[in-house]
């Protein structure tokens, strides 16, 4: 087979497409950012190599050297026998030609973009930048400017490529100079996909490769696709994948590839370990490890082994109701912190950081409310599926305890009750832990997702998947907030001075009333489902964010010098829910 193409046409075929482990997200042509010069996703020179039908050329700035001739393709395209013979002779000659001789393009005529029709003698008057007002500035520019589909005429001559080489003029089948005249090849087919003549890998064949001298210069700023900057180090035999000692991110190009001791973690500046230098990389490129899922792999790859643990039917609902309680609980904690930031600080940088932190934290809090709604949507779907004739009771009790977990370094995050506090540095760290992937909240959903995946509930799996994806985004956001606030050594700079509100404080009481009002509207909206309950949900949203809503009440509490706190409502529908 000279060409293998398999393009999906119908819906089930399109679903087959999947990304191989280790391939960067930019593997597919349409994912490219469109950089037109060598680098990033593909090298556009590899299109121009095939500008003339059934021939391909190596394009140098000052010469165009014939690299291949395809008489079979010429024949399949219906060319006359004599023309096909020219392609055949060229192919035979290319096989027998000594290394110091080549066929080069010595004459080129066609319709050049920006110049119009030209006939160029590349030997008698080589192209040069000085003449760019009237002619393309070099050979490659000339090829690139040929208009697609217009007639191109090329003259091929036998040329000595190394002037000092004594090899005599070889005997060849082709009678040179040899002239071809035909359309400038189309690089794309009618659907906008690459033309069938291009082989798999052809467009990337000249991209930066580990064995090239300057590969070590590829980094996040350029050519990042196939060149990770930092990776998790290859694991020595017997070390578990989640061993905290081997989990830090380290420099991929480090000189010392030893696995006796873990390499030190890279820092924000890229790391301090000595890296393979320009000359060493020519020689030692093969010691750079293959990286899959972010980790160097020296043996056979085994996909990460998550053992699904679906929940028994009886437990699924309890886990979901707890998940809803966790979403509500963390939302309340975030709200309390939102209104502890001093957005009127006198220092401009502090003020800007506090404002940005407040806006982002509020956005995350609103995200948790959306999760609360999604979890209730799942619960309602399961309730309907169960065929129970009873009315659906929404999950609107906050969690009695937020979940704990174990960090990557082995340290524990304990379960803890909901606490209302200013956004102190230690509190911010707790928030980061709450949203960290695979740790606390994320861990709550793991078995729920396993359950839906195991029972083939694709829609519900997708909902849980999106909640988890949001959590990952919240984690990144919190890391950013932490970075902004950590710039200020004294947390008093960006925090308001607040005290606990007395139980009889008017602003505090107004907040409680409005909070219960929101819960009441949600209870009705969630119970009736997205269609009938829509009006209540809209009202609840207004009661959260509107002028007479919870948000305004929070601002009023903070303006009076008190911390935003939420009392546990006495209504049994909002009774706190314990972990399963």
């Amino acid at each position: 087979m000279t060409s293998v193409k398999l393009l999906p046409r119908n819906m089930t075929a399109a679903r087959v497409e999947r990304r191989a482990v280790g391939n960067p997200v930019t593997t597919r042509l349409e994912a490219g950012v469109g950089n037109c010069f060598p680098g990033l996703e593909f090298d556009i020179r590899n299109l121009d190599r095939r500008f003339y039908p059934h021939l391909s050329f190596d394009i140098l700035r000052t010469s165009l050297i014939l690299a291949a001739s395809d008489p079979d393709a010429a024949k399949n395209a219906g060319l006359a026998a004599a023309e096909v013979q020219k392609y055949q002779d060229l192919r035979d000659d290319l096989i027998s030609l000594p290394g110091s001789w080549a066929f080069t393009i010595t004459g080129l005529s066609g319709d050049f973009l920006g110049y119009g029709p030209l006939t160029l003698d590349l030997v008698a008057s080589p192209l040069q930048p000085a003449d760019s007002a009237t002619r393309p500035s070099d050979d490659w520019a000339a090829i690139r400017l040929l208009r697609p589909g217009t007639t191109v005429t090329i003259t091929l001559s036998l040329t000595r490529t190394v002037s000092t080489d004594p090899t005599p003029t070889p005997t060849i089948k082709s009678s040179v100079p040899l002239t071809f005249s035909g359309p400038r090849a189309a690089y794309l087919d009618a659907d906008g996909a690459l033309a069938a003549m291009f082989e798999a890998g052809e467009l990337t064949q000249s991209l930066c490769s580990p064995w090239t001298h300057d590969f070590r210069d590829c980094n996040c700023g350029y050519w990042a696709s196939n060149h990770p900057d930092i990776v998790q180090p290859a694991l020595p035999e017997g070390v578990a994948a989640d061993d905290p000692g081997w989990s830090p991110w380290v420099q991929w190009q480090r000189f010392n590839r030893d696995t006796a001791t873990p390499p030190s973690a890279a820092d924000a500046s890229g790391g301090s370990l000595r890296e393979i230098d320009y000359f060493e990389i020519n020689d030692r490129w093969q010691s750079l490890d293959i990286v899959l899922d972010g980790r160097e792999v020296r043996g056979a790859y085994a996909a990460s082994a998550h053992t699904p643990a679906p929940l028994p039917a009886a437990e699924l609902e309890r886990h979901l109701r707890y998940a809803a309680g966790v979403e509500l609980g963390v939302m309340l904690e975030y709200l309390s912190a939102v209104f502890s930031l001093n957005t009127l600080a006198t220092d401009a940088v502090t003020r800007a950081d506090a404002l940005a932190a407040q806006a982002e934290l509020l956005r995350v809090a609103i995200g948790e409310m959306k999760h609360l709604r999604e979890v209730n949507g799942i619960l309602r779907t399961l309730h309907i599926q169960s065929g129970s004739g009873a009315a659906f009771v929404p999950a609107l009790g906050a969690a009695t305890l937020l979940p704990g977990g174990t960090r990557g370094d082995g340290s524990a995050v304990p379960q803890r009750p909901i606490r209302f506090r200013r956004l102190e540095k230690s509190v911010m760290q707790e928030f980061v832990d709450i949203e960290a992937p695979s740790l606390t909240v994320d861990g709550v959903y793991t078995r729920i997702l396993d359950t839906f995946v195991a029972s083939g509930q694709e829609e519900l799996s997708a909902v849980v998947g999106s909640i988890r994806a949001d959590g990952a985004e919240h984690y990144q956001t919190f890391r950013l907030i932490q970075e902004w606030l950590d710039r200020h050594a004294d947390q008093a700079d960006y925090l308001l001075t607040l005290s606990d509100p007395p139980a009889t404080n008017a602003q505090h009481l107004a907040l409680q009333t409005r909070y219960v009002n929101v819960l009441t509207l949600l209870a009705s909206g969630y119970a009736n489902g997205p269609v009938t309950g829509g009006a209540d949900i809209r009202s609840a949203r207004a009661a959260m964010l509107g002028a007479t809503g919870v948000r305004q009440a929070c601002e009023d509490v903070a303006a009076a010098g008190f911390l935003v706190k939420f009392d546990t409502p006495s209504d049994p529908r909002f009774t706190p829910v314990a972990p399963p």
Binding site: V4, L6, P8, N10, M11, V16, Q385
Partner: protein, 448 residues
């Protein structure tokens, strides 16, 4: 009726030797159909040629996705709760069509009288109470001519709609009718509910009246035209389609199609008679294929020109290929679908009323062992003629009730038709992709 534990517990294995793909050509080039999921890929001519030659490297390339194991659900025997039923309201009809599979509703004497309200409502309740609540339920009406039992039909619709709302179900309706008996309140009923209305009509007046005669009186075509006009003009929620029956003496499909479309139908399909009077004989199938393809080619050009086609045999096939439909059964008979006789017996199929082999229970319950045996024996993997056929998951073995009439000639017709539709799909999807997006939205609305 069925315990959850029995769902998907029975499987009929595929033939491991059967081909997993089919190479075909269209005006666009070469393609491959991977049978297990009806996936269509465009392939380079080299690859197509290598696949046909049996090149191991080329086959290896397809192996991951092409094997029948790639879609294990194809081996499942779906012992699922009934999701749709048809009620045979009466054994009488005001027409006397020569080719009627139901012998005007009496099924050769196997069915008599009319269905009682108690029988109808018991069957409806059985389905509504036991169905999968996430999916829509369909209640259908057949006969005889169901509108001869107009009062019962109205009562059943009202009951099912009311009970559906109470249970939180999406309930849809269907009716197959000769279209001669509509009264104003029938039209209102069809417009107000989601009714799939299939009208049996064979063509223009001459063609239609030749086989579809009123027992007493004048042209039934004139009656239909008059009776249907207000519904065609203002269908409301009803979706109307015309079904034309083809006998071996007249394959002039194009003219018949045009005459039916002229009445205002936007959905016209043809069904050849396979059993009984007028049934196609082996020698007839090539000519019928030729006639079908002539009409299909004409209508394909309309699709490519972004015009509407009413030819539902083509439209349905193209949409199914687009969706990658692949199934081990041609219909829901005995699985999610049952047909209830006037006396209340549940049959796997409305065409088989009175046939003991298809009788699987009553509203009191299904004979689960008999049903299981029926389904296992009707699975496409269990059909010796189908096990290795490349079209097995698109055709799925064809109508159970007509299986005795299946032979090489009629199978060649199905393969020829599908071969055309696959190539037509490639052309149409390239020229008019928007039509398929509309199609998939429509399919998503009507999964039944």
């Amino acid at each position: 009726m069925t315990s959850p534990a029995s769902v998907h517990s029975l499987r009929v294995a595929a033939d491991p030797e059967a081909d997993a793909f089919r190479v075909f050509r269209s005006a666009l080039g070469t393609h491959v159909l991977l049978l297990a999921r009806s996936q269509v890929f465009d392939v380079s001519p080299d690859l197509a040629e290598a696949l046909q030659r049996g090149d191991p490297e080329a086959r290896q390339l397809l192996e991951d996705t092409a094997s029948t194991e790639a879609n294990p659900s194809l081996a499942d025997v779906p012992e699922i709760p009934p999701q749709s039923i048809s009620l045979n309201l009466t054994s009488a009809c005001n027409l006397g069509c020569s080719y009627c599979y139901a012998d005007r509703g009496s099924f050769g004497g196997a069915q008599s009288g009319v269905m009682s309200q108690a029988v109808a409502l018991a069957a409806v309740d059985r389905v509504l109470d036991g169905c999968d609540r996430r999916a829509p339920v369909t209640i259908g009406f057949l006969g005889g001519e169901p509108f001869l039992q107009r009062t019962l039909l109205h009562e059943v619709v009202a009951h099912a709609a009311r009970r559906g709302v109470k249970l939180g179900l999406v309930v849809r309706f269907s009716v197959t009718t000769n279209g001669t008996l509509f009264e104003p309140d029938d039209l209102a009923l069809l417009r107000e509910h989601r009714f799939a209305v299939t009208v049996s009509i064979d063509g223009g007046r001459t063609v239609h009246d030749r086989k579809r005669r009123l027992l007493h009186g004048p042209s039934s075509f004139d009656l239909i035209a008059r009776s249907l006009a207000p519904l065609l003009e203002r269908p409301g929620q009803a979706q109307l389609s015309a079904r034309a029956t083809v006998t071996r003496d007249d394959f002039a499909l194009g003219g018949r199609y045009d005459d039916i479309v002229a009445l205002g139908f936007r959905d016209v399909g043809f069904s050849p008679v396979r059993v009984g009077a007028g049934a196609l004989l082996d020698a007839d199938w090539p000519a019928y294929l030729k006639a079908s393809l002539a009409l299909a080619e004409r209508e394909l050009e309309r699709l490519i020109a972004h015009e509407h086609t009413s030819f539902s045999n083509l439209a349905v096939a193209l949409r199914q290929i687009h969706r990658g439909a692949a199934a081990p059964y041609p219909c829901g008979a005995g699985g999610g679908y049952f047909s209830v006789s006037t006396r209340g017996s549940w049959y796997a199929c409305h065409r088989a009323i009175g046939d003991a082999a298809f009788e699987l229970g009553s509203s009191a319950g299904l004979d689960l062992e008999k049903r299981r045996a029926f389904l296992a024996s009707r699975h496409v993997h269990a059909q010796s003629a189908c096990r290795t056929c490349w079209a097995r998951y698109l055709c799925s073995g064809s109508c159970h009730q007509e299986v005795a009439a299946r032979g090489d000639a009629s199978c060649d017709f199905v393969r020829g038709w599908l071969e055309f539709c696959l190539a037509a799909y490639c052309r149409a999807s390239a020229a008019n992709p928007a039509w398929f997006r509309r199609g998939s939205e429509r399919a998503a609305e009507r999964p039944s």
